[in-house]
């Protein structure tokens, strides 16, 4: 038996052995904030779970997307990772790693009535891919996702355009979340208010974004969304992420990095939900379509 992959050196292979997860498991969390908005009546649509990015919290989805998605018939939830938003673990944020965050997402998923469509923004987009390689998601939506092949290019880019921000990240401070970095066309007062709600990020988790991650096979439908006016995640990285899943990225040009909050948030949400209705239509069984003989 040959285990050598033939002519496909980068083919993604199932990973079974996870010795560090067995021997040094992520710490449990006493309270995890999960905000949910239910539709008025059941519609047979799969539930949504949204995961925020660096220094954000579940609030960034609760603001616009959760109620609007529920109106369209989706049970919509957003989770705050440990030390973020209303979740516990703020005191231990300094030692939080991406592995802890993946654990937080999996814990939120197992509390849901059925497998969700996972929607990850920025760092949450990278984390969602790490979840997708080990859990049978209904679908995976990546909003301006942090690149799996390492954000070193992003850091260098930031060093050129906003040197002070890049230096802050290098010394372990949280990437500054100013309104002009997150939004393009939001009302300035609202933009200032929303940006002020961002918190701190774990330095370890932020450094980990620079590392190249090997993502295992993902079997569910994938949607990758980016914008050419993103001040944080570069379009070239969005393209690479889309390539990993053999899909074309969908561009929401004119919008800033926080597509769930910027002025045009409804267009962004409709793009996601229209894709869901086509690719994971109402009534799709929890574990995906079945081949019948």
């Amino acid at each position: 038996m040959s285990l050598v992959t033939q002519g496909l050196p980068s083919r993604r292979r199932t990973r079974v052995m996870r010795p560090w997860d067995w021997s040094v498991p992520p710490r449990g969390l006493a309270y995890r904030e999960i905000l949910t908005v239910e539709p008025d009546e059941p519609t047979g649509r799969p539930p949504l779970l949204m995961v925020h990015g660096v220094a954000h919290g579940a609030w960034c989805f609760a603001e616009k997307w959760l109620p609007a998605a529920a109106t369209r018939g989706f049970r919509s939830s957003a989770v705050s990772l440990r030390g973020h938003g209303g979740s516990g673990g703020a005191a231990q944020l300094g030692r939080a790693t991406s592995r802890d965050y993946v654990h937080d997402i999996l814990q939120a998923i197992t509390e849901m009535p059925e497998p969700p469509i996972l929607i990850g923004h920025s760092m949450g987009g990278l984390l969602s891919q790490l979840v997708a390689e080990r859990y049978p998601l209904r679908g995976l939506v990546l909003l301006a996702p942090a690149p799996a092949n390492g954000a070193f290019g992003t850091l260098m880019h930031t060093l050129r355009v906003r040197p002070a921000d890049a230096l802050a990240v290098m010394v372990g401070r949280t990437l500054p979340m100013r309104p002009d970095v997150l939004f393009t066309s939001l009302d300035p007062v609202e933009a200032e208010l929303l940006a002020s709600r961002t918190g701190r990020e774990s330095a370890i988790a932020q450094y980990e974004l620079l590392r190249r991650r090997r993502i295992g096979p993902v079997r569910c439908p994938v949607l990758v969304i980016g914008t050419h006016d993103d001040q944080i995640v570069r379009p070239v990285d969005v393209e690479r992420t889309a390539q990993m899943y053999d899909v074309e990225p969908v561009w929401l040009d004119g919008m800033g990095h926080d597509v769930m909050l910027d002025a045009d948030w409804q267009r962004a949400l409709d793009t996601v939900l229209d894709w869901v209705d086509v690719n994971i239509p109402p009534g799709t069984p929890p574990l995906g379509p079945i081949e019948r003989g």
Partner: protein, 456 residues
């Protein structure tokens, strides 16, 4: 055991086409059913009880857990890797929490809708030269029998439910009560009695400890000395420490020395408690995890004794000459593997146990697979998950890339005797036929899955 023959004409069977049948809705049946559905394979499950959980369905006919049962392995390796146990569960959850966990798993993945509960499988018979299986089931409420035709069968009926009871001279004349641990549900039966506990599996040790807490006196009969591992060492569940040493890729001899050193530091020399010195190396028998047994031996509540020699009307006599005037004997002597609905030869029976490639695949039929015939030196359900995934990938490969599936079939015949011991030699005992070193076994499953995912 006699060959089960269906005298029904084939035409009467409901044809389920490409669908597979999964027998049992314990952890292995559930994870196999989920893996099949997840990989686009139609499948139906059958379960004797009205609920999922199998052995962990406390109080059910074939459940062998007792009131005080907790996991002896901690959460990280015990749970399904894609459905971790909730953070609110302790390191070592109770059987009630485990049942709750399996129920949540079945509900979350929509498995309960695919399982016929309260239904016994009475016969599985291959038809058309093994191209399909006729599965006859009986509804327990109505006794109505139905036959279905399936493309294949996954057997996950468990291996810890049919009691193995040894026979000793004079046993018939014994005036006291004899009980197999299969029927032990809680400490009430021990209260105020003089108890002999036979066997030093994890159940034997649990019962001996409960007996020490409730009975007048307890004798604990074991064939040999064992290593009684603590549940915690240095503030961490000890199986996690064991996995840490594996993650660091330390060699077997060094891991052995470190374990023995830890035991010496935490518990001390077993002989000083009056326990027998282990006659074997660490890892050569299934691990016993019990911190309390040496404690109660030290308190004099448990008298460790040798093998049973004979029974008298009012006493049990052991090979070391000890005579225990007892009125209750609890046999914690393990279980035998039974497949009441299958012919043994289809599972490549060798002596008193089946010999299966990867403990799952039989050379006799390409569409008959067993899940759960393993006893790992670790938690179990990470292995259950990957056994299910291996089966599902194999079925997908058989349908879409027959040459890839054939590679596995070739190995089924060639490597049926392969064991996964990670370099140790297990002590011969029926309980060790199914023993696997978890890291060794899982690495073999990973290699198999990756090969089955090859394009050609």
């Amino acid at each position: 055991m006699t060959l089960v023959q269906s005298d029904r004409p084939v035409a009467e069977a409901t044809d389920r086409g490409d669908a597979w049948c999964v027998i049992g809705a314990g952890p292995h049946g559930l994870s196999a059913l989920k893996a099949l559905l997840q990989n686009g394979i139609d499948a139906d499950g059958f379960e004797h009880e009205a609920e999922v959980g199998g052995n962990w369905n406390f109080g059910a006919d074939n459940s062998r857990v007792y009131e005080s049962t907790h996991l002896i392995s901690s959460k990280p390796f015990t749970q399904f890797p894609d459905f971790p146990m909730p953070d609110r569960f302790p390191d070592y959850p109770s059987h009630r929490q485990i049942k709750e966990y399996f129920t949540a798993y079945a509900r979350h993945f929509g498995l309960s809708d695919r399982i016929a509960f309260g239904t016994d499988v009475v016969a599985c018979v291959p038809v058309d030269d093994g191209a399909a299986w006729l599965v006859t089931v009986r509804d327990r409420a109505t006794s109505v029998e139905t036959t279905f035709r399936y493309a294949g069968v996954v057997v996950a009926n468990g291996h810890n439910w049919f009691p193995k009871t040894p026979q000793y001279p004079g046993q018939d004349t014994f005036a006291g009560q004899m009980l197999h641990s299969a029927d032990y549900k809680g400490a009430d039966v021990l209260r105020g009695r003089r108890v002999v506990v036979v066997g030093a599996g994890n159940t034997g040790c649990d019962v001996a400890v409960e007996s020490a807490q409730n009975a007048v006196h307890t004798w604990h009969s074991t064939r040999r000395g064992y290593y009684y591992n603590p549940k915690y060492a240095m503030g961490r569940p000890s199986d996690q420490t064991a996995d840490l040493l594996l993650a660091l890729r330390l060699p077997l001899w060094l891991r052995r020395q470190m374990f023995k050193a830890t035991l010496r530091l935490t518990v001390g020399d077993f002989e000083k408690f009056g326990l027998k010195k282990p006659d074997h190396e660490f890892f050569e028998t299934h691990p016993i995890v019990n911190q309390q047994l040496p404690y109660y031996v030290g308190h004099g509540d448990i008298t460790p004794v040798d093998d049973v020699e004979r029974f008298e009307s009012d006493a049990v006599v052991f090979t070391d000459g000890t005579r225990a005037e007892a009125d209750l004997v609890v046999f914690c002597t393990g279980y035998l593997v039974q497949f009441p609905f299958l012919d043994e030869q289809w599972l490549n029976w060798s002596g008193d146990h089946p010999q299966l490639f990867l403990q799952m695949f039989t050379p006799a039929y390409s569409n008959l697979v067993v899940s759960g015939l393993i006893q790992p030196d670790s938690g179990q359900w990470t292995l259950a998950h990957w056994q299910g995934q291996t089966i599902a990938r194999y079925i997908v490969a058989s349908r879409e890339r027959p040459a890839v599936a054939q590679r596995l079939r070739d190995r089924v015949t060639d490597e049926a005797e392969r064991r996964f011991t990670a370099g140790t030699e297990y002590k011969d005992s029926t309980r060790h036929y199914y023993e696997v070193a978890h890291q060794d076994y899982l690495a073999a499953l990973e290699a198999t899955i990756r090969d089955l995912e090859e394009p050609r």
